[in-house]
Subunit: 143 residues, 2 copies
DNA sequence: AAACTTAGTGAGAATCGTTCTCAACAAGAA
DNA sequence: TTCTTGTTGAGAACGATTCTCACTAAGTTT
């Protein structure tokens, strides 16, 4: 089991959630993922660890992980994708609509300017991550 | 008929699209909208102009308008919302998840910094509008 | 104006992602 | 081990979007 998965389990447990077999499997999958995965993809991978896992449980576990701040949900088209996120401050997610890789970028320069303007307008952002859809460098060259 | 609607019709016609009754109705609704509307809302309003319009045609017309750059699609939760967009340069959409009002903000200061960083990473943004979900000033105070 | 070609149409079925329901289960406390 | 109750899987239900297909009408050609 990965360290990341262990940390998440510990945190969930501390918050009063039960650490069940299916949850263990989903957490392990998410912790190991190198790109954002769809719920269906997470289900397929989780079943290699615990064959009995159901799709509903994947959704439920993703909800829990998101509520506890261990995961962020990302949308490409109609499909919902999930991603473990490290950065805490306001930052951007560059989401490649081809390979679904998510790159995080951050700069105090524009974050500061943006936050100032949001305050000026009186808008309160609910998410700390802003999504930019497009094509990553690799996928541009291989198109 | 609004000027905006007429301009859009002219542009579509020039691109080879037929200007049909249902399309006229949908275009008129979108051109007059002061906030983002859901396809169902657009349908209801369009039927006041042309009672026979079907939901499928609303979706199809929205697709055309989007493909031709007269409209941007915005997502709040699962629902798809549409919005006529004026700004051409890179800008932000502040989307209130309560009242669905969309405010556009723009500043060369952070746009420049952001574009520079996107280029540095080699990421090519497909959309000129970046969405920030949250609560507008009005809805914050009345919550 | 009439005929013609074919893009566009409405109704409803189909599909997709997600949520709900509920009887059965099992994690963790005692 | 027993008990409590949070959690589960299967499938039904749901809401948004897309598809199908026979029919219609926009715009072009006569
Ligand atoms: Zn992030
Ligand atoms: Zn890519
Ligand atoms: Zn815009
Ligand atoms: Zn609002």
């Amino acid at each position: 089991m990965s360290k990341r998965a262990r940390d998440i389990q510990k945190a969930l447990s501390a918050s009063g959630y039960r650490i069940t077999q299916p949850r263990r499997a989903v957490i392990e999958v998410v912790a190991r993922a190198r790109r954002s995965l769809s719920p269906e993809e997470i289900l397929a991978r989780a079943r290699k660890i615990d064959p009995g896992v159901g799709l509903a449980t994947v959704y439920r576990t993703l909800d829990v992980l998101q509520a506890e701040g261990h995961l962020e949900r990302v949308r490409i088209g109609n499909r919902g994708y999930s991603l473990a996120c490290s950065e805490k401050a306001l930052h951007f997610h560059l989401i490649c609509e081809r390979c679904r890789t998510v790159t995080e970028i951050q700069s105090d320069q524009f974050s500061g300017a943006l936050i100032a303007q949001l305050q000026a307008v009186g808008f309160e952002s609910r998410k700390s991550a802003i999504e930019i859809i497009g094509l990553c460098a690799k996928c541009q060259s291989s198109e």
